[in-house]
Subunit: 492 residues, 2 copies
């Protein structure tokens, strides 16, 4: 397999697809729209999971696990949610296969083993969880209920792309119940903040926090908070959402509590999730024409050491130095791998680690042994320097922070360059066509205008940014009055 990637400028979409496969992150499977997450890709996802899980627990949440299947009668209960997901759900109708009498050696569905009630493979778990919460919540003492689930979900998408849109994906979904509306809103906002902190500080991806418009809201939500990131091709990617669900699910599943004062009321709910889609955001924010670029926080190996040698004796000497470096780096909590495979040459190793985005590469050869130095190469800048052995651990430790910060800054600068305020629809279309990116424009607040803009330009309102300032203006499309700009973009 050629390791050479298509260039981004040539065909961004092709570059992405090739990179995901060649960097060993994921591949398509024999099941339509479902992916296999390969060990290297999964190791990055595990790093995301560990950090998110820590953040959820720190904010008082506990993990639990709910069934994969949702009986149709529960799936239907919250009408908008059902309507939103009915068109893309996998349905289990039978519970047994049998030998196919017409095709020896083949199996077929056993017509006798039809389920009385069909089971929907969860596209999201509000229905099954709220049906469970009904038994868990009686009194204000049972609230708040702060639960998260790590799970797989299935949405039968017609056009799929690795990580970005797959029929099955991995995610976490938080589901909380509260005694008051205000507390639930605070929770939904808190979790959107957790997501933005995670994206910015851990993944080095700058995001814009805001509220979705009505037409972009989660099916069944009163408000949807989100974080929106900008990819290198000028398209936006929704990286996480947090929903204030009001009393919709509590009413659909009749979940009431008795307050301190003895009054009965339906509880207030939130749900929030991020998924393996974040892998797509990660790739499309930082990577380049040479392959993946990983922020140190997410790199399965932060440093790789490649030995350069001709003789066995040289190999032994280099390995001795490599071992010392590894102990020093591990003592500083830096993950490091010694690539001492004998089946590959240094050049092939360099190419692989570059493609897989290892943040730092240390090469040690006979010259280095003489001089007490190593060659240190940064993946993000593709720069090299010679570093004295006795300064190495400290330099590497410093670079972990530097690279993390530089990647964030680079992405922030890119976003700043690709965020445009426009005041006319001509400008709007012009910017979209020429540079893409985020567009801040006035909008009259109607679904109708939003739909028409989408129809004409394919751009959607990504969110009403949290930090947008009041400013009077007129809608770029309708000319009607508006008091704040909203964020438009074409989106993944």
């Amino acid at each position: 397999m050629s390791k050479k990637l298509t260039k981004r400028a040539e065909d961004y979409s092709k570059w992405y697809n090739e990179l995901v496969v060649k960097a060993d992150l994921a591949e398509n499977s024999a099941v339509r729209g479902c992916m296999v997450i390969k060990p290297y890709g999964y190791a990055i996802w595990e790093k995301m999971q560990a950090e998110l899980d820590r953040m959820f627990k720190e904010t008082g949440h506990q993990n639990a696990y709910f069934p994969l299947f949702v009986p149709k009668s529960l799936f239907e209960a919250e009408e908008k949610n059902a309507e939103g997901f009915a068109k893309e759900c996998a349905v289990v109708t039978h519970y047994r296969l049998q030998n196919d009498p017409d095709n020896p050696g083949k199996l077929r569905v056993d017509p006798e083993a039809k389920l009385e009630e069909e089971l929907v493979v969860r596209p999201t778990s509000e229905a099954i969880i709220w049906n469970t919460y009904k038994g868990w919540i009686q009194s204000y003492r049972d609230l708040p209920l702060l639960i998260n689930q790590w799970a797989n979900v299935v949405r039968w998408e017609m056009r799929t792309r690795l990580f970005l849109r797959t029929a099955e994906f991995l995610w976490q979904e938080g589901h909380t119940a509260h005694a008051t509306e205000a507390e639930a809103i605070t929770e939904a906002e808190l979790m959107n903040n957790v997501y933005s902190n995670f994206a910015e500080n851990f993944m080095a991806i700058p995001v814009i926090k805001g509220l979705k418009t009505e037409s972009e809201r989660f099916a069944g939500a009163v408000e949807t908070y989100c974080i929106e990131a900008l990819m290198q091709d000028g398209k936006a990617l929704q990286a996480g959402t947090s929903h204030f669900l009001g009393q919709n699910f509590a009413k659909a599943f009749d979940v009431k509590f008795t307050s301190k004062e003895g009054k009965q009321d339906h509880v207030w709910a939130t749900s929030w999730g991020v998924s393996t889609r974040l892998m797509g955001a990660l790739i499309m924010t930082h990577s380049d024409d040479h392959g993946l670029v990983l922020p140190p926080n997410l790199a399965p190996n932060q440093v790789v050491i490649v030995p350069i040698y001709k003789t066995d004796e040289q190999f032994d000497e280099v390995s001795e130095v490599a071992n010392t470096i590894m102990s020093d780096l591990r003592a500083r909590n830096i993950s490091v791998k010694y690539d001492n495979r004998t089946t590959f040459r240094p050049g092939a190793k360099f190419a692989q680690h570059e493609l897989q985005g290892v943040p730092l590469r240390i090469a040690i050869g006979p010259k280095d042994l003489e001089n007490g130095t190593v060659e240190l190469a940064r993946r993000d800048t593709l720069t090299k320097e010679v570093v004295a052995l006795d300064a190495l651990a400290e330099v590497v430790e410093g670079l972990m922070t530097t690279i993390q910060n530089d990647l964030y800054k680079k992405a922030s600068d890119f976003r700043a360059e690709h965020t445009t305020k426009v005041d006319t629809f001509e400008e709007f279309k012009d910017v979209l066509e020429k540079t893409g990116g985020f567009i801040l424009a006035h909008w009259d607040g109607t679904n109708e205008t939003e739909d028409k803009i989408k129809e004409i330009t394919k751009a959607t309102i990504r969110c009403i940014p949290e930090d947008s300032v009041e400013e009077s203006g007129v809608c770029v499309f309708s000319g009607k009055p508006s008091n704040r700009r909203v964020l438009f973009a074409k989106a993944y």
Copy 2:
């Protein structure tokens, strides 16, 4: 809800079911045979996962993720595996619901959205994984391939019990590929050893390692290694299995590699797994009539502190001491929770922590403040002692090891008392009826005898123990010659 448990001696099965629910471990869901794992139960499972995951990685395995669905044509490919699972698999036949014209507000399967090929919800992943490995393995350089997956699987069991047998369960499944038969066998044995180490040293559950007989083997395996534990009611529980799959799956999916010498051959395979069933083993090995008993290694909270106070001032004073204790214990890596809820009295808190198996309880009251002491209660022995504050952290740290070891010893003693060598079928039936437990008996090695014994007594061969010594004798049933004893029991 009454917190009072049925006694084990009265009705063991009822005791188990009540305990699982009342200790907040799991409950039945609205989906037939599927459980909800509640936060407290899930926290224990997370501890198991973390330790197993560490052990897998230490032995060179990486995690990955494969699709939930197996297309029918792949499911069929390995004949014995297909035959073994066909009778209990959930089948997805449609990918969309639509409004039901006959029932306003209801949905039905959209007859137009029938899948061309049915998808089986994975009961195990050999088929989908080996179909993937075909693309990953070309040369000896690609071997060994050592991969594990944490996932949910579905087996449509007719009679289900929380944790022990559920339609959906959580597990890990390792799937490895090797260049030689010997290496694959070594791997299967290694992983069975990992499981036995985990069960004994981490869960404090003594297990017997051995080989399954042909009739108890995994569908598609050449050999199945297993670990078998003994529950308090004298029934055995299979706690983990590791399969040597020979070249069966490699042949079914045509996975070949080129050796160093340039020869092509099918690769050799293993698979191995443990599941949330381990929660059942944990409960039934250690718990008592008062509720759950947890080994310190698996306790979400190893220590709980309960304040005893009448006035706010006393509460503040007790809390100050509690805070100091918590810092001291956490510095020793002991997890501790301060149960300062004001909505419950100390007696109710004691009862809850006893039911939930917290290994150590510290109570601090005004008297203790005066004397510089606390009351320390062990959950496993239900004993209490007064401990000086300045010795507390060390005493607690010591008890963590003591309790872990004592639980293992208690379970080992129980097993020793309930393991009987028998030489006649009368004795065999007698032991089964009176005390149950493990029975070591001679067997003639035929399926026929095994089946008949099962038919008459409900006991099965749990395994041919790894450490069984050669010893000539005659089969307890047929009287035919035998050269080693095998392990019989009634089993979960």
